[in-house]
Amino acid sequence: MTPPNDNASAMEARGLVKRFGQFVAVDHVSFEIRKGEIFGFLGPNGAGKSTVIRMLCGLLTPSAGSATVAGFDVSKDPEKVRSRIGYMSQKFSLYDDLTVEENIQFFSGIYGVGKEIREERRDYVLQMAGLADRRGTTTGQLSGGWKQRLALGCAIIHEPPVLFLDEPTSGVDPIARRAFWELIYQLSEAGRTIFVSTHYMDEAEYCHRLALMYRGRIIATGVPEDLRKQLRNHPLLRLETSDALESMRVLEGQPRILHAAVFGGGLQLTVSDAAAAAGDIRRTLDANRIAVDSLNPVEPSMEDVFVALIQAEEEKEG
């Protein structure tokens, strides 16, 4: 997936800072997002992702720095920004006691969707969310996946050029997640800019560009492929043995093995030099009378990339 060839900026953050008392939740975050891009914002819980999104939506005032969204400064023109964005928060936030259609109607009203296109937009949202024959159902009775698509529908009822999705897929089953990402692609192809945060690392692969946030700072940005390349000097080996835990005990602390983790039935080892490390591993296991079933290099997943990046960051901080 390549980002669209449009270099116009949809959003820009310049040195955003948010302090809550002594605590610095967001520490000088800067980035630029092009029109039509799907920008993935990744990081563990508590990294400050939601705080950045809320500043960009005008829900929080930045302690320092500035941001432009859809051409308007979020601190100076919050109202203009608000009418040009859609926001879907982490927590489901439609009205459970209203029906599907009433929720759509309400958001259509407060977003000021014009009378002449109101029905057309409603029908589009119902069809997009696959809720056309459940328009009279009370929203509280919908399952997670439906709710989430309805929430997305309500957030785009006014056709905003910029869409913020704060962990939209948390608590949704894998099939519904896949279907949700299909919708996000459709929106991106229609020229919408999408800023999506997640802590599901596999979802990172769906994004055009990524930023990894850790403890309030962005520690890496780039397209998924580039980030994966950063891991070239830390190859991964997959090891299957007769006793995974015992293998881990004897291998940990070896000079060429940077990190060992139990993965499925075997171990995943981050090493400094694949060929040399493989020899070390076979010798060590042999000496400990552990049988090696297989030992192969593997392509790092996004999760591996981020674990490695975060570990490197932690080592830097000491």
Partner: protein, 377 residues
Amino acid sequence: MSVRRTLAMVRKELRHIRRDARSLLMALALPMFLMLLFGYALNLDVDRIPTLVYDADQSPESRSLVQKFQGSRFFEIEGFVDNYSAIERGIDRGDILMALAIPRDYSRRIRAGEPVAAQILLDGSDSNTASIALGYAQSIVQDYSVTLRSEGADRRFGIKLQQAVDARTRVWYNSTLQSKNYVVPGLIAVILTIIAALLTSLTIAREWEMGTMEQLMSTPVRPSEIVLGKMLAFFFIGVADTVLSVLVGVFVFDVPFSGSVWVLALTSTVFLTGALFWGILLSAVAKSQLMAFQMGIISSFLPAFMLSGFIYAVENMPPAIQAITRLIPTRFFVTILKGIFLKGVGLEVLWTDLLYLAGFSIVVFLLATRRLRQKLA
């Protein structure tokens, strides 16, 4: 401010209200219940005072004095006894509030033209009731002694004795001096204060708890539109409660309604607006529905009950407290309702109170709007 966004808020709130049938029923039944409860319980009239009689004389004269008590609507003769200890027991148990004891030589002294005394024994633990009862008893006894003396004078000297001064009192507005006429209009104001605050106190706190407020804040809808939209939706319930309370006052308690329905409609609209905004302000300040609810009860009920002049006249309060009552909108609405119900006065008298209520509404609306905006940062 956008009319369309405000109307979208109103419509949404009305749907919440309709869906929550139990709360709606409560909102309509509670005022009725409070009206009946307080309307009957808050009876300030002292009448049918339970009384025991100890008639030691048993003469025609003593019996005719007892008859005077029996004939009065203020006294209810519970029984006759023949010693003081029975009276003591009755008062101790709380069966009676008063006893009338007539001495053995009562008729003899009357016939001899000597000064004579009947004894009134009172349970003074409720001093207010006791002194009112004493007043009634004294007037009966005095009345009777005047009659006796003039009869005696008539018999002996053939002349009629005139009472020196005959004061004739005439009470305006609540001519039968029934306390319900005084209590019920004020009660309507107090109940509406409580209901209005409770109705709206949950509404914004609930949206914070559900996370929907954050969603709203990310849209172009403004705090003022949220506050106004919510108020308008609950206003309909407020009006229904007002109508029901007034009907109970007029038809159940027989309180005369001498003023104009239009003045009542106008003033209660302005009052309700402010009281509903007050609940919304609390809702915006409180962190949870529970806290908002408690703040709603305490901040509406106590001042409305104690400081509105509903029972305790503001004019009798110390100046410092009187100043505080000016911060309480119910005080002005109590004045307005008593004026409309009992005196039949219109805006030519009530306009200052109405102006105050309007001012209160505007100030509270602005505070609530500001508070919502502040919560964002």
